[in-house]
């Protein structure tokens, strides 16, 4: 419903500022402000409507991201808007699908880069560039004026529709925080989910497997006598032996440090070797135990490796002497298991 039959005079925003200051528009680099916005200033002639070759448009929109740099704009034909000069907000954002915490900083970093380096090759297959927003002309060639609102409906040809409806045809590079869905939902789309398993419709997968399927089997591992724990990725190992070696590597440094600090013992080079050599069979100084998904302490090594990976929740390297006395240390905050 066209609403602007009448051409009303545009309000002078400057007059509305109470203290009457003339606000000087500045063509600041990267500031992307509009000058005399909507006051009928002339359009930026540089914004012409051009169609780019199919390849460039694989990200859908104008590769005006490129147009951060005026020079580039000539080389990379960009689909720009004639009468819909959206402000050059700085939307050069990196793709991010990693959830809320990363997003903000990524935005900032990307934007700074683009401002500072001034070279964006949006269409050129650089997957980082932000698609849609980049219709927005760059700061440097900022639009000094916009079509007055009333004349927007005039030239339909110049409008957006020339943008191929590629929205159905290419993956949109994600803008930070867009579309506005919670981070839980991002994971749904990519299959790895915080709430669901990876195959939504796979009814063949065994339930047990699904239950146990975690995105990353990083489990905590503590060693008696060492106050600081580590985390280990069970998925990175394929056997108990490798795990045992890995455990040794994790705590090796700590043990050495402790030995250095205790001036009394002589540093025995093979000491840590000895400690870790018999983790699995109970005959060494330390034994590896784990806590399973039902909360019980179990000896490592009894079940097949893949079952172990899916049920182990935490690991512990205990002194074997503790084991034999049946005094398995209980973590202070833990309540009764059942």
């Amino acid at each position: 419903m066209g609403d602007s039959k009448e051409r009303e005079p545009l309000p002078r925003l400057l007059d509305l500022i109470p203290d009457g200051k003339q606000w000087k528009g500045r063509e600041a680099q990267g500031a992307g402000r509009s000058r005399n916005a909507g006051f009928g200033s002339e359009e930026d002639k540089q914004l012409e409507l051009k169609l780019g070759p199919p390849g460039l448009l694989k990200e859908g929109t104008t590769a005006a991201a490129a147009s951060r740099d005026e020079g580039i704009r000539r080389e990379i034909p960009a689909l720009s808007l004639g009468c819909f000069p959206h402000k050059p907000s700085k939307p050069a954002v990196n793709t991010t699908a990693t959830g809320t915490k990363r997003g903000f900083l990524d935005t900032i970093e990307a934007k700074t880069e683009s401002r500072d380096e001034q070279k964006q090759q949006a269409g050129a297959g650089c997957g980082n560039e932000l698609p849609l927003d980049e219709k927005i002309p760059a700061a440097s060639e900022r639009k000094t004026g916009f079509c007055p609102p009333t004349s927007q409906h005039a030239p339909p040809a110049a409008t957006v529709h020339n943008r191929p409806h590629a929205q159905g045809r290419r993956p949109s590079a994600p803008v930070v925080g867009w579309p506005p869905v919670r981070s839980f939902r991002r994971n749904l789309a990519h299959g790895g989910s915080s709430k669901q398993s990876t195959e939504p419709h796979n009814s063949e997968a065994s339930m047990k497997e699904k239950l146990a399927c975690k995105k990353n089997p990083l489990v905590k591992i503590n060693m008696d006598g060492i106050p600081i724990g580590r985390k280990v990725d069970l998925g990175a190992y394929d056997s108990y032996e490798r795990l045992s070696l890995g455990v040794k590597e994790l705590f090796h440094g700590f043990l050495e440090a402790q030995k250095d600090l205790s001036s009394a013992g002589s540093t025995q080079l093979g000491a840590t070797e000895k400690i870790f050599s018999q983790l699995l069979d109970g005959s060494g100084e330390y034994t590896l135990v784990y806590e399973d998904n039902e909360g019980d302490r179990m000896l490592v090594g009894d079940v097949p490796w893949n079952v172990f990976v899916s049920t182990a929740k935490r690991l512990r390297v205990l002194r074997s002497s503790e084991l034999s006395r049946g005094l398995i240390a209980v973590a202070p905050r833990r309540g009764p298991d059942c």
Binding site: D3, G32, H86, K111
Partner: protein, 590 residues
């Protein structure tokens, strides 16, 4: 007393109404349900102020930085239930820097000190630590309700403290929080003597729970009405739980999948058949279509169905929903598609709220046939529909105009067309006309989110017509400062305005500075603001807190940055507490 003259002093009579004792006013005010009414009463005169504030039991602090915790405690000494909200809404989508603030600790500390009788605490979008939870457990002897929505910073250790320490806990409601799993068996810490639970929602918890412990808890809490499980509960255990709690009113199934076994199916079906009071159902993540018919016996009674994380699709899904004839609330994924929504339109005539979420928000390949048609159908056939959140990929002005005509009773209309700047796909015009129709027709509209290709003229309509609008979300829209000016100079009831990626600059902000004090908050990110304008705004409006968030590398000191420097994000809110002191490096209060 005696004035002499012609007027005789009146004979001793009842005291004039305005000197009635406070208790009378407190009793009168207890009938005012809305905080805003109580606030208005308190503004009438000193004695009403005194009576109202001393009898206020429920306090909702919509912006944790609008007042200090001590202000709140001092002013309302008798509060029993407090709700505090922290980060701005766009924090949900990653636009707020990680360490921005909104710590719950000062509120918990102030409450522990000044409101020892507090029974209910709700936090939304705040950073709640395990220490906070431990303090809650230790400080309030009659603590009953803990609700945490979109919070982070705590772990199962904190939950353990709550379970162990809150003897009278009725509700533990954890919605969409980020909870670190410390493998603490927090559920086991509810004592055997503990039976008061009415609501237990741990659906957002990622770790495993001890199912035996859960079963025992559910069995002994005979008043349990709401149970929302996480994804650690297999289907057969779900059936067991339901048999132990047939009185349940609201159920979150967690996952709902298993290989199809007729025995398991029958077990489930029987379990649901026993739940005669079940009214609200959610979960069904990974739902396997073959198991959906197990729900059939409860469909008739369901008023609320949240399948927004359920990736099930196809005829079984549609058949299931179509049997829920009394649905008032339906949240579903776009996998339902237009034809599914057409069925919803014809079956669920009592629908009041519809939300359709995108199953593949980042993948533009159109696998899902959900368009404007679905929304048009539902709006045409569901006369009580008043709240909509709809993600789709295409829209037309005509559809929006039709929707506006069909449903002038919308109070909340949020349309998200996934690709920014998408025009009407048939006419290639901006969607100004459509959204204008919405605001002109829906006079009671309180919340609006716009999307698609939009010019300044839609904002003119919104500013002029949306008199009751309280919250407006704008993204990738408008083409000049005028757009923002229309909004800020119109929209009489506007409380929250959030804007991203729009070409709005300094002028409308400064020209409408006074408006900002009538609002709760304004968020503008990736617009065309400069630091100088923000500084000027802060100078002009001392009761606003003007926060600027920029590239951390340029964060401090802001003094060295010039007025021309662009501002990435601006967050402005009114406050009586002055500038906060807990900003991270990349946030500056100018």
């Amino acid at each position: 007393m005696g004035r002499g003259g012609s007027r005789a002093a009146p004979a001793a009579a009842a005291p004039p109404w305005h000197v009635l004792p406070d208790e009378v006013w407190e009793h009168a005010f207890s009938f005012l349900p809305a905080d805003s009414d109580r606030g208005a009463a308190a503004a009438a005169c000193r004695s009403w102020l005194r009576a109202e504030r001393r009898s206020r039991r429920r306090l909702a602090v919509a912006n944790c930085y609008a007042a200090s915790p001590q202000d709140a405690v001092d002013r309302f000494p008798a509060v029993r239930a407090v709700e505090v909200k922290g980060k701005p809404h766009f924090a949900d989508f990653g636009l707020v820097p990680p360490a921005w603030g909104a710590a719950a600790a000062p509120w918990v500390a102030a409450a522990a000190d000044g409101w020892p009788l507090v029974e209910e605490i709700s936090f939304k979008r705040m950073v709640v630590t395990d220490d906070c939870l431990e303090m809650i457990a230790a400080s309030f002897r009659n603590f009953q309700v803990l609700r945490l929505v979109s919070c982070e910073g705590f772990s199962t250790a904190g939950l353990a403290a709550i379970a162990a320490g809150c003897r009278n806990l009725r509700e533990l409601d954890l919605q969409e929080n980020e909870i670190e799993d410390c493998s603490i068996h927090w559920l086991s810490l509810f004592p055997e003597s503990f039976t008061s639970l009415v609501t237990l929602n741990f659906s957002c918890l990622e770790g495993d729970v001890n199912i035996t412990v859960l079963e025992r808890l559910v069995t002994r809490c005979r008043n349990l009405k709401t149970l929302k499980l996480n994804n650690a509960i297999p289907l057969d255990k779900l059936a067991n739980l339901l048999r132990k709690a047939p009185q349940i009113v609201e159920l979150g199934t967690g996952r709902f999948s298993a290989d199809y076994h007729p025995d398991l199916f029958s077990k489930l079906e029987a379990a649901f058949a026993g739940c005669k009071s079940l009214r609200r159902l959610s979960g069904a993540w990974d739902a396997v279509p073959e198991y959906l018919p197990a729900f059939y016996c409860v469909c008739e009674g369901l008023t609320s169905l949240n399948l927004s994380y359920a990736t099930v699709r196809g005829p079984e899904l549609i058949k299931f929903i179509s049997r829920c004839k009394n649905l008032q609330l339906l949240w579903v994924m776009d996998l339902i598609e237009d034809h599914g929504l057409a069925v919803v339109a014809s079956s669920c005539n009592k629908l009041q709220e519809l939300r359709v979420f995108p199953s593949a928000p980042f993948d533009a390949a159109e696998q899902v046939s959900l368009t404007e048609r679905g929304l048009v159908d539902v709006s045409a056939s569901c006369p009580m529909l008043e709240s909509v959140l709809y993600f789709c990929r295409r829209m037309t002005n005509e559809a929006l105009i039709t929707i506006a005509k069909n449903r002038p009773n919308f109070t909340c209309f949020r349309l998200c067309i996934i690709e920014p700047h998408t025009p009407d796909y048939t006419t290639h015009q901006p969607l100004d006309a459509g959204f204008s129709a919405i605001v002109e027709s829906c006079k009671g509209l309180r919340r609006l989110s716009v999307s698609g290709l939009l010019t300044d003229s839609v904002f003119k309509s919104i500013g002029a017509h949306a008199d009751r609008l309280e919250m407006l979300s704008i993204a990738f829209a408008g083409n000049s400062d005028l757009g923002l000016h229309y909004i800020l100079s119109g929209c009489k009831s506007l409380k929250k305005l959030e804007i991203r990626d729009c070409p709005f600059g300094d002028k409308p902000l400064l020209a409408n500075a006074a408006k900002l004090e009538t609002m709760r908050s304004l968020w503008m990110s990736t617009c065309s603001l400069t630091l100088g304008a923000c500084r000027q705004l802060a100078r002009k409006m001392p009761r606003l807190s003007v926060e600027v968030m920029n590239d951390p590398r340029r964060g401090c000191p802001l003094d060295s940055l010039t007025d021309e420097s662009p501002v990435e994000t601006l967050y402005v809110y009114r406050t009586i507490a002055g500038p906060r002191s807990d900003t991270p490096a990349c946030v500056q209060i100018v």
